[in-house]
Symmetry: C2
Subunit: 333 residues, 2 copies
DNA sequence: AACAGTACCGGTAACGTTACCAATCACAAT
DNA sequence: ATTGTGATTGGTAACGTTACCGGTACTGTT
């Protein structure tokens, strides 16, 4: 097992002290130009690569941030991550990514791990059971960004999209297309998000003078099957509706599946609007009209806000960044 | 900026030496049971969390592995990553994930970064330009697993799926469904993978006594549009074909899009088989018949093989693990 | 009473790096 | 000749942790 080349090896090979090597390596003054060149040449020849673990210990800064998601393979999170990693790389940070599988205990462990790793900051989409674990981060003054969800209770910076506007946009669009009885197939896992989209839905109805009906609003668990089954239930029960606003594109896919199975024409009989604009939204049939959020931008924004906190070292302010959403018109509505 | 609690703080608070604290923390012998309890209590009260950076430096082991992908938001990679992270977590490892954006220079930088971070191992899907960067890892004896692609030249362990079998399976299935003129819409980016699927395609034709025709085989760049355009081209040129074997599901989606636009019935007029079984494969219309690879298993396998190398510390053998593939029958063929 | 054995605990070095201080040397200014 | 100055270099401590070694006090054996 070969060992890594250390600054000491370079020093020996170049016949200077480790200090001189350090000076050469870091472009510091107080070093002869010739010596510097010679040292750098030796370092290159020996294949010296700085040991980041030593630097982390010395400076108490790791240049690593942690990202904790419930499931990084979910297309929403995987795109957000891409944005985070992109910006992190640009600023010479690395990213440790962990999944919680929506389990609070795993989340707690993950946060402990991140603390142990001495990450310079953390981006997290918390499960919504309890917040002790997150608060422990604040106590340690580890800059933390809450991503995607809304928690005014947690006095921490948040980056998310304008879900009220998104809910309004989708519903208003359906109404403008002549729909009057619009089912809201809402999510429950992210309560805050679901609530805000619901708010947008209600606002749009009100602004258009349409009566709100409890019988058209449903909260269902995650997954395509869930939406598929619920929609089937609507159709079997004879529920009258001519539009559907789905919490996300996954739901929309499930709903469309069920509608087609019952011979409903989309959008003629029933219009469907999704949410997220996942990359496959345009390839399903009919292509999905949906509320788009710029997931990569969301990731980038989160990193940049985090970096700000990391640099300022001050107690992070509970700043909130709300990103715009827009409606993508396709064929399903 | 509050600092972290160190072993020294605990020692002071408990009125013992740092050695005793260390012994208590690590369940080492040579410590009084009472003292141990007291120390652990103090440590808990103070919120002590071990500093992983110090351990990394001390032991020369970081319990971090690196993962380098071209694009972690690609559904294939994001699922593989999930498998890697799952297993890593189980073994108390963390994962740093970096994207190369298919750029060799970025890949080279990423590998340098991983070396600098002193990762205990690396899982990588190399771009296929050059291999100097990867060889530098081997020189440093950083255990490295090549994932997804085939490089006998690189004497490194590989984990990938049986692409020859996959190509055979898809083509054979189409033939069994009565198809005689089967277009192969092959990829080029992963040359080795594309070649093996091509081999499977040829084998299936031969075994079924169908003549191979050059005019039915195409290599196209990545992306839905790419497949969409190529298929349109076929249809406009009057190329005769009754089946399509697509390099991946993305291609299949593009192809189906074009076929539908030209009023072709799928699978009656033209049968289409994809590859990968991405999670949306079953929701497109018609649902996609495709060759499935267990991406999570692939990630898990890669981690386990890597862990083996990390533990053995021996020069890693060029072991190759080939995972099975299977055909998922749906409606498109 | 002398000694060995054992249980427990603390001092120190080391991992690789850089910051700080001290040292050396050449040369110019007095 | 002495002193000061600037350029260059090296020694050492420190970051947090554990391994190794040495020390102390108590017990039991003869």
């Amino acid at each position: 097992m070969k060992k890594f080349i250390t600054i000491r090896d370079v020093a020996n090979a170049a016949g200077v002290s480790i200090n001189t090597v350090s000076r050469a390596l870091n472009g510091k003054p107080d070093i002869n130009e010739e010596t510097k060149k010679r040292v750098l040449k030796v370092a290159r020849e020996l294949g010296y690569v700085k040991d980041a673990t030593a630097l982390s210990l010395k400076y108490g800064l790791t240049r690593v941030i942690g990202v904790i998601f419930e499931d990084s393979s979910n297309p929403f999170f995987s795109e957000v991550f891409k944005g985070i990693e992109m910006k992190a790389r640009e600023h010479n940070f690395n990213v440790i990514l962990m999944n919680t599988e929506k389990n609070y205990d795993i989340e707690e462990d993950a946060i402990k791990t991140m603390i142990s790793r001495r990450v310079d900051g953390l981006i997290i989409t918390p499960t919504q059971e309890r917040f002790e674990d997150i608060e422990s981060l604040a106590n340690l003054n580890i800059p933390t960004i809450i991503l995607g969800v809304h928690f005014k209770e947690l006095k921490l910076p948040e980056v998310h999209t304008d879900d009220v506007a998104g809910g309004f946009l989708a519903t208003d669009y359906l109404i403008k297309k002549g729909r009057k009885r619009i089912v809201l197939l809402n999510g429950l896992s992210y309560k805050s998000v679901a609530q805000m989209r619901f708010e947008g839905y209600v606002n749009a109805l009100r602004d258009n003078g349409i009566k709100y009906l409890d019988e058209l609003v449903y909260e269902i668990p995650e997954g395509v099957e869930s939406a598929y089954n619920k929609t089937k239930e609507f159709l079997l029960s004879g529920l009258r509706f001519d539009g559907m606003f789905c919490f996300n594109d996954i739901f929309a896919i499930g709903a469309i599946e069920a509608l087609k199975e019952f011979g409903k024409r989309i959008p003629e009989d029933i219009s469907v609007v999704g949410y997220d604009d996942i990359s496959y939204a345009k390839y399903i049939s009919p292509s999905l009209t949906t509320v788009a959020i710029d997931k990569i931008l969301e990731g980038q924004t989160a990193f940049e806000l985090l970096l700000e906190s990391v640099k300022s070292k001050a107690k992070v302010s509970a700043k909130e960044i709300v990103l715009d959403v827009k409606l993508i018109e396709r064929k399903s509505a």
